[in-house]
Amino acid sequence: MAATPMNQLSALVNNMFATGLLDEQFQQLQMLQDASAPDFVSEVVTLFCDDGERIIGELTKLLEKSSVDFDRVDAFVHQLKGSSASVGAQKVKNTCIQFREFCQQKSRDGCLKTLDSVRTEFYDLRSKFQTLLQLERQIQGFYPK
């Protein structure tokens, strides 16, 4: 099978679904992308990546303090969980759910460990999303709408 952008894109997306990185919500977004909203997916994905980056930054700052405000931490994690759910970022969403439990328990160590997991998963997802968007742009270049 030739490694055309189209094939690469399918392989990438399939892999993201298979590894649990994405769930059916992402499929919902893909279905909504059409002639009236040709950039639906890329817009939402870009927003998610920017928003996620911002939230992870805030969480890092909050957890560095000697006295942690767990309510504020929980509020940010809730935000990240919400936007992951909206985009179909299943793995990040599930880690956020665990994160919130550590917030409830007011466990600084638990929060720090989970923040590391979230960060790793988020950056992994983000780089795959960036590849996805690049491939989409290439495809649109071949087949302008």
Binding site: D34, A37, V44, G82, A85, S86
Partner: protein, 230 residues
């Protein structure tokens, strides 16, 4: 905020309130997609405070429906819901609440406060019909929410009728899961009001009777008093 609301026929003007930029965009795109055939005009704000400010403006009067997130900092969607219903008690703007948490207590709280519907996030294509069902832009007699406006003034203790009337067909499925909680919580709230109402009614009646008696005594010269004593 995104500019003036156009007064187009058949277009539902939705005020979307959500502090998450991702969720705002998803809902905006969802409602403007081809599948919705241009039937929604969405104005998005990122806080309940901005929503109230907007509703106070001229353009805000033209809003057919408010779609709000529940969890927001400073002023929650629940507080916004109550504030919107209080804006125009005779003809309140329909409000639909969204939340990522599928919590029966939260759902019943919102429905009891007058929300037309409660949708669990993330919003999907199938939820769009629920928005259409609950809007003042729809012609009278054809909306599911007709029963909602009929149920004000205060609903009967048989609050299952009120709740079933509130929900759109697809919403009912979600509501069934919370019906038990709803019945319990709404009957608890109602039972608080009923003794008060009863007391008020009795008080008014007593005052009227007293007034009547006093009138008779002053004009009848006290004869009726002797009748009572005899």
């Amino acid at each position: 905020m995104e500019g003036r609301v156009e007064q187009e026929e058949g277009v539902m003007r939705v005020l979307l309130v959500d502090d998450s930029p991702v969720d705002r965009r998803v809902v905006q795109l969802l409602l403007s997609s081809n599948s919705c055939a241009g039937s929604f005009h969405v104005i998005a704000v990122d806080s309940a405070k901005k929503a109230m400010e907007f509703l106070g403006l001229q353009e805000g009067k033209a809003i057919d429906m408010v779609l709000t997130d529940y969890c927001m900092p400073e002023m929650t969607g629940y507080d916004l819901l109550k504030a919107i219903k209080a804006l125009n008690p005779l003809k309140p703007i329909p409000v639909i609440v969204m939340s990522s948490e599928n919590e029966p207590q939260r759902i019943s709280r919102c429905l009891n406060a007058g929300a037309e519907d409660f949708i669990v996030k993330p919003l999907q294509g199938k939820d769009v019909q629920r928005l259409r069902n609950c809007s003042s832009a729809r012609p009278k007699g054809s909306s599911q929410c007709e029963t909602v406006s009929k149920r004000k003034p205060p609903p009967l203790p048989h609050s299952d009728h009120a709740i079933v009337g509130t929900a759109s067909p697809s919403g009912r499925r979600a509501h069934f899961t919370g019906v038990a909680m709803v019945l319990h919580s709404s009957s608890v709230e109602l039972s608080q009001y009923f003794p008060l109402l009863l007391k008020l009614v009795l008080l008014v009646y007593a005052v009227m009777c007293l007034g009547e008696l006093l009138h008779r005594w002053s004009s009848g010269g006290g004869c009726s008093l002797f009748l009572w004593c005899a």
